[in-house]
Symmetry: C2
């Protein structure tokens, strides 16, 4: 049976989205998309004959990853780029996983991917730890505050109706 392409058969990265669409769906501006391309965060997309950029769903996902990393980590784009590139290495590896090529070479690549991921992981764990620390401190503070509040409220009600013991 010949190749009869179905919707579910279309590879995720079949490009068909124009830049406006992508901008709308990802919530970033067209300028930002071109800017990311300029900075190497997005690879140059395929083009129509006229030069219009054509993006794929994979590109959309990439943009979303970039934004999340940006917001969560607050790192400069250069570092974000490294991180997303590292992810790409994974996908790349996964894609090349089947073809019967040099095993030891794959091993090397895999090791590299692991190393990179390890670093990312450590980095994020650091942040999580530090943030969790702040969080617990804030929590503590909040309970303190509520304690004070209760205290004040007690005094206030006591002030309002001083029929019983005047002084505590």
């Amino acid at each position: 049976m010949a190749q009869k392409r179905q919707a579910s058969d279309v590879p995720v990265d079949e490009p068909y989205l124009q830049i406006g669409e992508v901008a709308e769906r990802t919530g970033v501006t067209q300028r930002t998309l071109r800017f990311y391309e300029e900075r190497g965060l997005l690879k140059p997309p395929t083009r129509m004959e006229g030069g219009f950029r054509l993006y794929s769903e994979a590109d959309i996902q990439r943009v979303e990853r970039i934004r999340r990393l940006q917001q969560l980590l607050g790192f400069p784009l250069a570092e974000i780029k490294e991180m997303v590139d590292a992810e790409e290495v994974k996908l790349q590896l996964r894609a090349e996983y089947r073809p019967e090529a040099a095993l030891s070479q794959k091993r090397t690549q895999l090791l590299k991917a692991i190393e990179v991921t390890d670093r990312q992981f450590a980095l994020i764990r650091q942040k999580v730890d530090a943030l969790a620390d702040m969080q617990s401190k804030l929590e503590e503070r909040l309970t303190t505050f509520h304690g004070w509040l209760d205290q004040i409220d007690e005094q206030l009600t006591a002030e309002r109706k001083p029929k019983a013991k005047a002084k505590v």
Copy 2:
């Protein structure tokens, strides 16, 4: 007995540090310290007769808080300012806690501090959650990778000594 000031008696905020010292100890530049002052993140410090800025240990701590928030949250300085100011409200409240002033006024202040802290808390929790999510995903990926690695290693050793069963 008259006030006989001892080292441990010196309030933490007795100013005696020049800007260079502070810069060195906090790891930020003098420019940055002046900049923070300009932006209201640091209150104008006391000065020597000649005009030299004199900082206190409390100021150093404040700078450190600012930097931590900056690195952890990646927010603009304006927001960081709000957050540190909110903390200051707490200290302020704590300081004014004893004098017998209008209780209901204190209550109001306290409520505000609680509100602010609540917002901070929610914000940080969001971040922690999102980051924890990323973290677990990365962890997952790592185990996958290690699985693949094992697989490859198996195949490699099998390749190296094909005396037993050639095909699995």
